[in-house]
Symmetry: C2
Subunit: 227 residues, 2 copies
DNA sequence: CGTCTCCTTGAGGTTGGTCAAACCAGGTGG
DNA sequence: CCACCTGGTTTGACCAACCTCAAGGAGACG
């Protein structure tokens, strides 16, 4: 009870986010479609609005001090983009579509003053949840080895797909190995090697970006009390 | 312009937070004093309220899946604790005082419904800023080597102390090496070694928990475009 | 068919982790 | 006052997990 459930790592039950947003879709000004690879907004752009992902998925990236890109999050349908931009009135990260996608522009600046307390409350909840997700990712980055990171990532993706009505054992990834590596703080080669290792041990079936979880137990076992 | 300024890493200009909170101190129900080492709230406790640190400092820790403690943040006067608990109505991390401290209990549940939109707006800004801080920490954890992590940490601490009116070159740390190591995703020995290495190179003067920055430039140089 | 991007696999080296021992400061009790 | 104990810190020796560099395969697309 006192420990984080690992299969929840950076989960955050995204569909709830929009749900939370409740009837407030009135706040939605515009609906945008974004082509795969296109940039929805860019780090340091002045903050305009939150974006609720309707369809498709994005990666959220920031430029690290040394100039390399760092993937901060994978954002799927039902999640909200741009939450970080609000506090400093600039986006803190760029949002890049991993596939053809559709977003709802949530003009919080306007709707915020107009909307009732319910809207604010919902917004705060979404932000807070995002924080929780971040916390879990920090734990992952700070204290896990390569295999644990991958296991955590896979279980999380599986869960999120399941929440969206997909088959939990069937992962069709939208991002490259490089993206995954950056997100997990690993090198791209280590991601590959770890995946093939899991494949050889029949934990996983790997076919390019299509993965199938064969032994969920084995993934969870990565986190035995003292391994 | 497109890159994060490194000396800002997990900065977040904390004193502004309370400022932002503005005249809303009416929301403050209680003032608590906490002894060094005491637990203000515990991970998984039902969420009660946010806590604004008045005096002293805290560490925010979570239990990792493997049972080890993970330090998620160092929280100083002017910062707000418990932001993560709101979304799930449980605290996602424990708060432990690093020294004798004093906090203001911000009963958002009550004040939230009572307070005006200004309060909500302020709350959202605080949350959003916290997100930004998290983003920077994720970059640190994912893509920096030991020396860069330390440099980043030191510059950040210096900045935060400066914001609070302290002398920027004089750091009097309140946390143990173990805490720092956990926070930065390093081993305690590596933190020690890196500090002594910086000491030997006259970048830093190390005397237990009292540090003096001798060569800020050298620390910043850690992040030259491609080193 | 050539090119491009992405993925996979191998060889070798380095950073940083682990284990171990000793030091130091502060507190406690005789 | 001193002996002792504890928690924190420092340092060394060793080792392995992971990174880097390099080369080759596989699929998509013009």
């Amino acid at each position: 009870m006192t420990e984080l459930a690992i299969h929840d790592t950076h989960a955050g039950c995204a569909p709830c986010a929009l749900e939370d947003y409740g009837g407030c879709e009135a706040a939605a000004r515009t609906r945008l479609t974004v082509r795969r690879g296109a940039v929805l907004f860019r780090q340091n752009d002045p903050f305009r609005a939150f974006m609720a992902v309707r369809r498709g998925s994005f990666k959220s990236v920031a430029v690290a001090p040394d100039g390399r890109e760092q993937v901060l999050a994978f954002v799927m349908a039902g999640d909200v983009l741009g939450l970080d931009g609000f506090g400093h009135s600039r986006y803190a990260s760029s949002a890049i579509a991993l596939e053809d996608s559709e977003v709802l522009v949530l003009d919080y600046g306007t709707a915020g003053s107009a909307g009732g307390p319910a809207l604010h409350h919902a917004m705060a909840r979404i932000l807070s949840r995002e924080l929780l997700r971040d916390y879990k990712l920090k734990v992952l980055l700070a204290s896990m080895n390569a295999e644990q990171k991958l296991a955590s990532f896979l279980l999380n993706m599986s869960r999120r797909l399941q929440d969206r009505g997909g088959c939990p054992g069937d992962l069709s990834l939208r991002m490259t190995r490089t993206d995954i590596a950056s997100y997990l703080g690993l090198s791209l080669e280590t991601v590959c090697r770890t995946l093939t290792s899991l494949h050889r041990r029949r934990v996983l079936q790997v076919d390019g970006r299509h993965l199938r979880l064969l032994d969920r137990r084995a993934l969870l076992r990565q986190f035995g009390r003292d391994e």
